[in-house]
Structure formats: C-alpha cells, structure tokens
C-alpha cells in the first residue's frame, strides 16, 4: 500500500477513537435534551470529574482498568443525580433561559470547585494499557485504541438495549415523548429524569477515563472544549436522538483527525463549528431529525 492511503487509514483509526469519546459524551447531552429540553452545559465537566475519579482509582486505589472505569462511572452517576436534584429540579417549570444559566453556573462550579480540590496542576494519567502496537497493512493499531473503541461500542450497545428493551427504557421514551401524558400513565417522571442523568453522567465518566488514557494528561478545565464539541456532535446527529449522537460523534472525530492530518490542526475546532452552522442552516433538526411542522 502506498503511503498516502496508509496515512488516510491511520487518520481514520485515530478519528474513530477520538470520535467514540465524543459519541459517549454526546449521548449524555442528547438524552438529557430529549427528556427535559435542557442544554446541560455542565456535562463536559462531569466528564472531567469522571476522568479524575478514574485517575484516583488507578493511582491511589491501584485498581486495574475495568474496575477503575466502573468506579468512575458509578461515582459520576451519583454526581449527575445530585446535580439534577439540587440545581435543575427546582427549575423544571421555569423559563429555558433560567435553566440554561443554572447549567452554566453548575459548570463553573465544577470547574473551579474542582480546581480548589485537585489544584490547577496538570496530572499525568498512568499507563493503564500495554504499549503494544499491531500493524495491519502499514496501519498502526494501538492496544489502547482498540480497547477504547470496544468500550465505547459495548457501552453504546448496552445503552441501546436499555432504552429499547427494558421497562425503564420504555418509560424514558414515554417521558421524552410527552411528560404530562407519561405522568398520567403512572410513570414516576422525576425518577426517570434522575435515571437519565445517571446514565448520561456514567457515559460521560467513561468518556473521561478514555480521554485521560488517550491524551495522557488531565486538568480541571479539560471538559470545556470536548463538552462543546460533543454538543456539536449531538446537534449534528439530531439532538434528542440517540443513534444520531453516536453517528455525529464518530463523524466529528473523523473530520477532526482528517483536518489535523492535512496539517491544519489549529483550524480543526473552527471546522467543527463551521460544519455545525452549515448543518443548522441546511437541516436544522440534524442528520437524523424529523422535520416538525409548527402549528398555530
């Protein structure tokens, strides 16, 4: 194989690993938006907390990768429920902008509160994976890349199963379709909303651990930009639609690594936002979204 196509394949592999992280974060955004129509700006920071609790589990508790992942997912699920109960629940019936400002407040609180707790110093993630590389047709597959993709795929499959085939999932879909009607049918909407936050935050925590492993360093402000980009991914696929978030995340990862591969890595964020604006102008409901007509 010649070097250009090898290079392209290499970028596709990198893009898929990065994209699977975005997809995991985007899922949380999209689920929360689908159910209470709130852009949860604190979601990227929940991911940061996930990365730190994973780091804590690996370096202090000396856990191997999978238990550390579980530890961080569970602690962030609790954090997600806590945030929802304290900050968002009292605003369930307030204006959208008030809820948005609250989300920004929670986000700032996690970032700068985190800075006080763990200090602003950048920490190095311990190498949890062996540095093995597999070569297939000139393309490198890092052991870590494979584990990351696998983790993401397994988690997404689990999520899909939960939403489509379990009773809780059915209730979630009902609440996102029509909250009042769901309440009348005897669904405890408050619990379902908390459950949605728990799942979304757990996925974000997984993304945080993977992000720490992928980039090796973590800091309290690491959640801002990936959070924003995951949000772009969620909008790209159609916000509120779960498969849309997965596809959007992977697409965004691919676009970014291709732009970086072309040597314009400082422009890759701009390209991501440009795509976002184009999608919004051409098909505002996203790639997978249905066009809802407005009735007077």
């Amino acid at each position: 194989m010649d070097s250009i196509s090898t290079q392209i394949f290499q970028q596709i592999i990198n893009g898929l690993s990065l994209g699977s992280i975005y997809a995991l974060i985007a899922l949380g955004y999209t689920m929360v938006y689908g159910i209470i129509k709130l852009i949860n700006f604190a979601h990227g920071d929940v991911m940061m907390v996930g990365a730190y609790s994973g780091w804590f589990a690996v370096t202090v508790l000396h856990l191997p990768f999978l238990p550390a992942l579980l530890f961080s997912m569970i602690s962030c699920a609790l954090l997600g429920v806590l945030i929802e109960r304290i900050a968002y629940k009292p605003l369930r019936n307030a204006s959208r902008i008030a809820a948005l400002i609250t989300a920004i407040g929670v986000s700032l609180f996690l970032e700068y509160g985190g800075m006080i707790v763990v200090t602003a110093q950048v920490r190095t993630y311990p190498p949890v994976f062996p540095d093995t590389r597999y070569i297939l047709g000139g393309v490198y597959f890092k052991y870590g890349d494979i584990v990351m993709l696998l983790t993401a795929v397994v988690l997404m499959a689990l999520l899909h199963f939960t939403v489509q085939y379990t009773k809780v999932g059915k209730a979630m879909r009902a609440v996102s379709y029509d909250k009042d009607a769901a309440l009348l049918m005897g669904i405890n909407t408050n619990n379902i909303i908390s459950f949605t936050f728990a799942i979304g935050s757990a996925l974000a925590a997984a993304a945080g651990v993977l992000m720490g492993v992928y980039f090796n360093t973590i800091d309290p402000l690491m959640g801002i930009i990936p959070g924003l980009k995951a949000f772009v991914a969620a909008v790209l696929g159609g916000i509120g639609i779960i498969p849309g978030a997965m596809v959007g995340g992977l697409m965004l990862g691919l676009v970014e690594s291709i732009v970086s591969g072309l040597g314009a890595s400082t422009w890759r964020d701009a390209v991501a936002f440009l795509i976002l604006i184009l999608v919004l102008i051409i098909k505002p409901s996203g790639l997978f979204g249905k066009n809802v007509r407005e009735k007077v």
């Binding site: 605003l91 959208r96 920004i104 407040g105 400082t266």
Partner: protein, 317 residues
C-alpha cells in the same frame, strides 16, 4: 413634536453629568486608586455589552450566546486601525463597531431563521469560529496576543456608554422597537399583523453586534493587550449572565446586572481561586429563587417626576 426638555430628561441628564463629574474629579485629583478606575471602565464596557445583548435576547426574544464573537471583531479591527495603521482613536472604534455590525448582518441573515436553542448553538459556533480565526492570524499576534497603547480614558468610556444606552433605549421605544417586542411576545401573531419579522430580527441583531463591537473596541484600546482567549464563549456567558441577572427585557435591569456582576467580580478579586465558585453558587441560587432576575421586565424610570402622559410613554410592557 415631542418636547425633549421635560423634567424627566433634564433630571436624567443632570444625574449623568454629575456622575461623570464626580468620577472625573476623583481621577484628576488622583484620589481614585487605579483598581477602582479599572473597575469603573469595565463597568462601562459591560453596560454596553449587556444592553446590546438585551436588545437581541430580551427585547427581540432571540437567543444569542455568541456576543463575545462580535466583541472580538470590534476589538481586533479597532486595534488594527489604531495600532497598525496609526489611525485616530475614534476612527478605530467606529471601524471596529461597523465591521462587527457587518458581521452581525452576515451571521444574522442565514441563522435567524433558526429558533430557540438552535439559534443559540449557531451563534455559539460563530463566536468560537471568530476566536479561532484571530488565534490563527499572525498579523495580530496569534495566541500570544496583541499589544497596543492604552488610549481610552474615563471620559471616552463614559461618553460612549451613555451614547450606546441612549441609542438602544430610543430604538426600543421607536416603531422598530415595538415591532421587536411584538416578535418576542409572539412571532406568528406579529407576522400576521404585518411585521416583517426577518427584517426586524436582523435589524436588532445587527444593532446588537454594532454595540458589542463598540464595547470590544473600547476594551482593546484600554487594556494594553488583547488575546483571543479573552473572547471565548465564557465571555459570552458572562454577558448573558449579566442580562439575565438584571432582568431579561429590561434595559435598566441589564445595566443593574452589569454593575452588580462586575462589582461582585471585583470584590472577589482578592480571592481568585474562590471567585468563580462563589459566582457559580450565586447564579444557581438566584436562578432557583428568582429566575426573572433582579428587575424582571420592569424598568426603573424617572416617570414619577414627569407629567402623567410621560409616565405612560416610558413604562414598558
């Protein structure tokens, strides 16, 4: 023909002149510490920003969170005019504001078709693109920032602030402003009553962008250095928070919000590590207990000084 010299306007004018004279006196006689002066000029800048965002978000009911993008355009363009081309200060400020307004027009035309959250996301994306463009521009120093002399004095900042607020206030009271309020209350009803909604939305957006650019230009020509990082979406959030804090849709509320928020930031400057944590908690608590902001949609007016007719003409909503 309206009588401009009624008692209310005269009292307002006297108040403004008095406020200016007191601060100017304190500065001239060197009584005011530099930190206070900085805070006062920042308050002026943030009043312009929050009032102009209020025009878009509060009066017209559109949801923009990319205001820092227009501020960045104004800041960088005016910096290029004053520092690279050595143009006069006023020309720099005006060029910055006009280019920002053109940017607003360019962004507003396609994106204002979007509603609610989607518009918010699009404007957020635009703001980030602007930041990245300046980050990659070698001419203005890239990530390291661009240094320029500080030419803005208290007089400049205060005069431009009063100018902006008066223009926006009068816009809101005009036919165009009424059309914008109609769009906020119910876009479909406004359209069926013959309001050209696209025109007025783009108009409000462009005017808002103009004054954001103006504020950015003042900021650039005061601060000695501008960096792309200053104009990230966190700055947009700051401005949005000021507007919501004071009361969305109330011009005076936006001013109160800008003053309160800047003062809180200044008061907490001694404990930088806790500053944003306290601000965050304050925000969440305020939103839970008073989601309409300090003033709601009410205006603080001097109506009690004028005749009855004036009172009806000035109170909104």
């Amino acid at each position: 023909m309206r009588n401009w010299f009624n008692r209310k306007n005269i009292v307002a004018l006297l108040g403004i002149v008095l406020l200016y004279a007191v601060v100017q006196g304190l500065i001239v006689f060197d009584i005011m510490p530099p930190f206070y002066k900085l805070t006062l000029i920042l308050i002026c800048i943030y009043i312009i920003l929050s009032t102009s965002l209020n025009l878009i978000n509060g009066i017209t009911g559109q949801f923009s969170i990319g205001h820092a993008g227009f501020m960045a355009v104004g800041a960088y363009v005016s910096a290029m005019v004053t520092a690279i081309m050595h143009g006069p200060l006023l020309l720099g400020i005006l060029t910055g504001a006009v280019v920002a307004a053109l940017g607003g027009l360019l962004v507003g035309l396609p994106t204002l078709r979007l509603k609610g959250d989607y518009l918010a996301i699009a404007t957020l994306g635009f703001g980030e693109i602007v930041r990245i463009v300046f980050l990659n521009m070698e001419l203005v120093g890239g990530a390291a920032g661009f240094t320029l002399p500080s030419k803005i004095t208290w007089t400049w900042a205060f005069l431009l602030m009063v100018f902006s607020v008066v223009i926006i206030k009068n816009f809101v009271g005009s036919t165009h402003g009424r059309a914008c309020i109609a769009i906020r209350e119910n876009e479909i009803a406004a359209e069926s009553m013959g309001v050209n909604t696209t025109k007025y939305k783009v108009m409000a957006f462009t005017i808002g962008a103009f004054f954001a650019g103006l504020a950015g230009a003042i900021y650039a020509n005061y601060m000695y250095i501008i960096q792309p990082g200053t104009f990230s979406f966190l700055k947009s959030f700051d401005i949005l928070v000021m507007v919501v804090l004071g009361g969305l849709g109330s011009i005076t509320g936006g001013i109160v919000g800008a003053v309160v928020y800047t003062l809180i930031s200044a008061l907490l400057a001694g404990i930088p590590e806790w500053r944003l944590v306290i601000t965050a908690v304050f925000l969440v608590v305020l939103m839970i207990f008073r989601p309409t902001g300090i003033m709601g949609t009410k205006e603080f007016t001097l109506g009690f000084l004028g005749k009855k007719g004036d009172k009806n003409a000035t109170s909104k909503n």
